[in-house]
Each structure stands twice: as structure tokens, then as C-alpha cells.
């Protein structure tokens, strides 16, 4: 997915690697951290696939640097991805789901205790996220990301309640 973010950033004009990484961090408000190596490798692949082109720009006193820009193929690739709905975000293989399932499988003696411990953990994560969400002056993208994460955690907690009901019902 990193490649599409980079294509998106380049759609606004040519940039060199360092600028791209800074713009990336800004867009995600720090919630998605990439190292320079990842950005560089991804740019190399994009260039290999003719989706971006680079040009070496000489600088006085400083080392030369590569400036990247989008090709027509890159623009088409980006557009194709943007208009395609994302795959259903079904998370059937999430560790939470799998763990709770296997807890039932191996018949741990105190399944409810484990469930309550899981709930406590999720509630604490929720507390941390809602507290962060209520702080002012967050970038708009971060607010959207936090809202999404909060809704997911809420769904997890409601699911844990359902599991508890099932366990109680079968006890």
C-alpha cells in the first residue's frame, strides 16, 4: 500500500526521497511510520515498473539528489487503485479472534478469566485512543484514523461480550 501513497504524494508534483518521507509522516500524523530504506526500495520498484521516473539534481556543496516524478503509467496505476473499492475488511484471521477460538478448543479451565483479561486490555487501549482523540490540534488524517481504530476496538469489545454470553449459555 506504501507504493500507492507515494504515487499519491507524487501526483502533487515532483519530490525527492526525503521530502516524500516527510510528507508521508505528515499525512498519517505519525500513526504509520516508515523508514527511509522502505521508501527508497519502494521508489526503486516503482521506477523499475516505469510508474515513476527519477532525475539527478546537482546541488552546490551538498551531494546530488534524486528527484522523482509520476509517469503517465503511474498516474493511470494510481487512478485505477483509487476508484477500485477496497477489499472487504473482514478480519477473520485477527489474533484476537483466533486466540479466543483456540481458548475454546483447548478447554482452558478459566476461559472467562482470560476473556475478562482480554476485555481489560482492549478497554485500556480504547481509553488511550479516546484520550488522544480528545486532544486538540490533531491533523485531520489522524482524527479519521483514530475514529476508525476506536470503532474497531468497540466492535472487538462487543464481540467479547457475545463470546462471554455464549460461554455462560453453554456452562
Amino acid at each position: 500500500m506504501l507504493r500507492f501513497v507515494l504515487l499519491g504524494l507524487l501526483s502533487r508534483g515532483r519530490r525527492h526521497g526525503y521530502e516524500l518521507r516527510a510528507a508521508f509522516e505528515e499525512l498519517f500524523g505519525g500513526t504509520w511510520s516508515v523508514n527511509p530504506g522502505q521508501v527508497y526500495t519502494t521508489l526503486q520498484r516503482l521506477e523499475r515498473d516505469d510508474l515513476v521516473v527519477s532525475e539527478v539534481v546537482e546541488q552546490e556543496l551538498l551531494p546530488d539528489r534524486k528527484v522523482f516524478s509520476l509517469t503517465e503509467a503511474g498516474r493511470a496505476e494510481l487512478k485505477g487503485w483509487l476508484v477500485e473499492p477496497a477489499a472487504d475488511p473482514v478480519r477473520l484471521k485477527d489474533e484476537l479472534f483466533v486466540k479466543v477460538l483456540v481458548q475454546g478448543l483447548v478447554r482452558v479451565p478459566d476461559r472467562l478469566t482470560l476473556l475478562f483479561a482480554q476485555r481489560e486490555h482492549s478497554l485500556r487501549s480504547l481509553a488511550a485512543l479516546t484520550r488522544l482523540r480528545s486532544s486538540t490540534s490533531l491533523p485531520e488524517a489522524t482524527v479519521l484514523l483514530l475514529d476508525g481504530a476506536i470503532l474497531h476496538l468497540e466492535a472487538d469489545l462487543r464481540w467479547l461480550d457475545l463470546v462471554e454470553e455464549r460461554i455462560e449459555g453453554s456452562a
Binding site: R119, E120, L123, S125, A128, S134, S135, L138, I150
Partner: protein, 250 residues
């Protein structure tokens, strides 16, 4: 009563609390301690007894058996009239349906519990003005409840509950009628009131609302089945940590 020099009594102390309505056991033996300044959320499915518990804590009803102490004083055996005094002075209630008096303006609604005590009108008005200021309602003081949004009405409800500076604030699904945005504002208010030392017991079925508390108590079928302390929050994902300013580091 507490001996001099002893630790301050718990804000709320509940032992073996039972409540039966006809043949229905709403509470089947509840023990709960709430420390002064603590914010406790009670969660559970409808019918689990969480609202009954809240009503017994606030003297709205009498238990079938068991003990309730507020600030060290037993309240479970109080007469109806003594409980009426208790409700005016020792606890503040916030309800899901706001329960404001429709033909009184915001300021008068907030004043009402204050005027039912022996406090002077002036002292009540001063406290009311402070609260309206803190809750962002100053410019709504002369509006009627019907002219306010749901979120605003609930803020008035909170101001009214706090006008007598009760040691304990009890809230029963305070965000139940609100959309998530106004609900979020009400939770923020409760959080800030709690930040100033207010003891709060809140009943909710909303995990996001409950996560504002210091501790989440889970009730099932008239009993407490779990208590989750949220005091020491989990570390945020590493990438989020830099975004939390020092002082609110969580």
C-alpha cells in the same frame, strides 16, 4: 464513623447488597468500594441490575438486604424523608432523559436543587454561574430546555447535579439519548469534572463512554463478575507515542 486520624472513609462502600422486586432478584449480593475522587463505570446488559445499584447508591430506593455507606455513613436504613435530604445534599443524579423542568429556564433548572437546601439564593446563583461557565452554557442561561439540543440539555443536567457540590455524582446512561458527537462532549465534561476531584459512578452500555473511567465494573445477572482497572493504560502503539504531549503522556 471514622476514628480521628484514620484514613478517609470510602466515598461509597457496598456490602452484600440485595434487591428483590416481587419475585425478581435484581441484585443478588453486590460488594463495591469507590474511593474518594474515583470514577467508576458500571457496564452490563439490560436487566443486569446496574441501574438498580445506582438507585440504591443514591437513596432513590431501599435495598432488600445489605449495607450502603456514603462517606462512611450508612444510608440503607434511612427513612423516606431522610433519603430525600440525602438525595439533595449527598449525591447528584444525571439521567438519560435529562429530566429538566420544561417551563423553567436553564439557570432556574440548575438552581432548583440548591434552593431546596438551606443555602442562600446568592450562594446558589454564584455556584450556578461557575458551573454554567465551566460547562460552556453561559449564553444559554435564560433559554428554556425545549430550545436546547440534547447535548446541551444533558450539560444542564450535569450542572444541576453538581449545584450542591455533592460528594458523589451518579449518572445513569447519560449519553444514551445522544448522538456520538454530543455524547463525546458529555463524556469530556464528566472527565474534566472528575479531573477536579469529583467522585463519579456512571452506568452505561457504551464501551467508549466507560473507557473514560478509572475502573470498569462488569455486572451480570445481579452480580459483579469482573472489575477492570484502567488506571495504568496500555502503551500506545509506538508510532502514536510522539503525538501525546508531555503531561498527558499515557
Amino acid at each position: 464513623m471514622t476514628a480521628p486520624g484514620a484514613l478517609a472513609p470510602a466515598a461509597i462502600e457496598v456490602r452484600g447488597l440485595r434487591k428483590t422486586y416481587g419475585r425478581v432478584d435484581a441484585l443478588r449480593g453486590v460488594d463495591l468500594d469507590v474511593e474518594p475522587g474515583e470514577f467508576v463505570a458500571v457496564m452490563g446488559p439490560s436487566g443486569c441490575g446496574k441501574s438498580t445499584l445506582l438507585h440504591l447508591l443514591g437513596g432513590l430506593d431501599r435495598p432488600t438486604a445489605g449495607e450502603v455507606r456514603l462517606g462512611g455513613r450508612r444510608i440503607d436504613g434511612l427513612s423516606e424523608s431522610a433519603r430525600a435530604v440525602l438525595r439533595r445534599q449527598e449525591v447528584g443524579f444525571v439521567f438519560q432523559a435529562y429530566n429538566l423542568v420544561p417551563n423553567l429556564c436553564v439557570a432556574d433548572n440548575v438552581d432548583l436543587p440548591g434552593l431546596l437546601t438551606k443555602r442562600s439564593r446568592r450562594a446558589v446563583a454564584r455556584r450556578r454561574d461557575e458551573l454554567l461557565e465551566a460547562l460552556g452554557l453561559v449564553d444559554r442561561a435564560s433559554a428554556l430546555p425545549g430550545e436546547l439540543s440534547g447535548g446541551e440539555q444533558q450539560r444542564v443536567g450535569i450542572a444541576r447535579a453538581l449545584v450542591n457540590a455533592p460528594p458523589v455524582l451518579l449518572a445513569d446512561e447519560p449519553t444514551g439519548n445522544l448522538d456520538s458527537r454530543s455524547g463525546g462532549e458529555v463524556v469530556e465534561l464528566l472527565r474534566s469534572v472528575h479531573g477536579k476531584g469529583q467522585t463519579i459512578v456512571l452506568v452505561t452500555h457504551d464501551h467508549v463512554v466507560a473507557s473514560a473511567a478509572d475502573r470498569v465494573v462488569a455486572m451480570r445477572d445481579g452480580r459483579i463478575v469482573d472489575e477492570a482497572p484502567l488506571g495504568a493504560p496500555v502503551a500506545l502503539p509506538a508510532t502514536l507515542q510522539g503525538m501525546v504531549r508531555p503531561g498527558e503522556a499515557r
